[in-house]
């Protein structure tokens, strides 16, 4: 069985370390927050201007002045702080955030990432993603391995407009985990989802990769 979205984010959460400051992208990556191990101190940064992001508020306690980067209502913690957007990205660009988890449309073997537009079809904008991949110490991508059409999203070279060049450290898909290492060497498949075979991954992956798994 390939991993579900919840499984994928649980796997990404295993990369967290005690004391980390972490930014979670909108969409699937926000689920990583549900898998922070008990007893581990992880502070979530929201690029619209908050450190110490809390869970969704209880019904009736939602505050329109308190949202995350996905514009969802959230709550604050005792340790939370608020700041403006320039300060928020000084923190990101300045290398003060330990880990960023992002979604993607394509990841290439050379570590390139594309996740903000499909020319002529879909334009959402890059939001803070280009700043995050340029400034955060470690970048993990969580995405479905293939498009709905079956086409591999782990590619030899991105065909979509880039978010960043040589920026992806680790890739978690529904089929397994790939060490991309910012394109500094061959892509390495380091883990298979339970019940997924190496042959299946090879058949569904455009990019070349090496592995010690059998």
């Amino acid at each position: 069985m390939p991993w579900t979205r919840d499984d994928m984010t649980a796997r990404a959460a295993r990369e967290l370390k005690d004391g980390f400051y972490v930014n979670l992208g909108i969409g699937i990556p926000t689920l990583v927050a549900n898998h922070i191990p008990p007893g581990m101190q992880v502070t979530l940064q929201s690029e619209n201007g908050m450190l110490g992001m809390g869970p969704y508020p209880f019904e009736g306690e939602e505050d329109p002045d308190l949202v995350n980067a996905g514009k969802m209502t959230i709550s604050e913690l005792d340790a939370s702080s608020y700041f403006n957007s320039a300060e928020s990205f000084a923190m990101i660009r300045g290398g003060h955030i330990d880990l960023s988890v992002l979604g993607a449309m394509q990841v290439a073997a050379n570590g390139d990432l594309a996740n903000w537009m499909v020319p002529g079809k879909m334009v959402k904008g890059m939001g803070g993603a280009m700043d995050l991949v340029a400034g955060v110490k470690r970048v993990i991508v969580v995405m479905e391995h293939c498009e709905k059409s079956g086409r591999s999203k782990l590619v030899r070279e991105c065909t979509l407009p880039l978010t960043g060049k040589g920026v992806v450290d680790l890739l978690v898909t529904d089929l397994g985990v790939f060490d991309i290492n910012r394109g500094r060497g061959a892509v390495r498949l380091v883990e298979l989802a339970p019940g997924v075979t190496l042959a299946e991954v090879r058949a569904r992956t455009e990019a070349d990769f090496v592995t010690d798994l059998v």
Partner: protein, 239 residues
């Protein structure tokens, strides 16, 4: 004696609007947007606007109202995924858009208000954002030169303000508002509460009054929530 206090949004904008102007509008999504000033700009009918704002509201609210009314010629934004009309106009070539990474956008505005004409950043190197821009190496890394942004007018929203124009924002409604207040040739601020001068904690002021030229208390705030997400109260009872 000069006063910054205005009775309403329309009079606060009197004499400031002209076709083809550049307007900065604070807010992140619908959080912390100058609702009343946006409505007054719509009523004014001013057109061919270049609008600098992280997003463009949603269909039917915030800056989405100016888009629907055909008043915006160009947007400088980082993310517009919440606005279907925006996406359609852009793809059809009827709206010009300068997509700017969010941190670069914030810093360009900060630089504009701080008298810094340009700066270097790693953000966007090797992407379409870098096209036509100067790059330079520092300590073995490639950086991109980004120019500062200024506007003819900036409209911002704060929680509390006083007659001097001192502003305090609330929670994540702060976002782009403080930088935009500094980068408009004229800054008009709207606040939920206009309080007597001297009652704001002077150590807690986010925007000092020097940046704010006109201020008004909005008559009402809808403060629409874009994506309501909650936990059931039963979880609280069991906690």
């Amino acid at each position: 004696m000069a006063t910054k206090i205005q009775s309403d949004a329309a009079s606060a904008l009197a004499g400031l609007l002209f076709d083809g102007m550049t307007v900065m509008a604070g807010g992140f999504g619908l959080c912390g947007i100058p609702e009343n000033l946006i409505l007054a700009i719509r009523e004014s009918g001013v057109k061919d606007l270049t609008v600098v704002s992280n997003n463009c509201g949603v269909d039917g609210f915030g800056l989405g109202l100016l888009l629907e009314n055909g008043q915006i010629r160009k947007m400088i934004s980082s993310y517009v995924g919440e606005n279907e009309l925006f996406e359609r106009l852009y793809i059809e070539g009827r709206l010009e858009v300068e997509f700017t990474p969010q941190g670069t956008l914030a810093e360009r505005i900060r630089a504009g208000g701080a008298g810094i004409p340009a700066f270097y950043t790693r953000t966007g190197v090797g992407t379409v954002v870098a096209e036509g821009k100067e790059t330079r190496e520092f300590d073995g890394e490639t950086y991109l030169m980004e120019r500062a942004l200024k506007a003819d007018l900036s409209i911002v929203k704060a929680w509390k303000g006083d007659a001097e124009g001192n502003l305090i924002y609330r929670k994540t409604a702060r976002n782009f508002n403080p930088m935009m207040a500094t980068a408009g040739r004229v800054c008009v601020a709207e606040v939920e509460s206009l309080v007597p001068t001297g009652t704001l904690d002077k150590d807690m002021i986010h925007t000092p009054g020097v940046y704010v030229h006109r201020i008004l208390q909005g008559p009402a705030y809808e403060k629409r929530i874009e994506r309501l997400t909650t936990r059931p109260r039963s979880e609280k009872a069991s906690a």
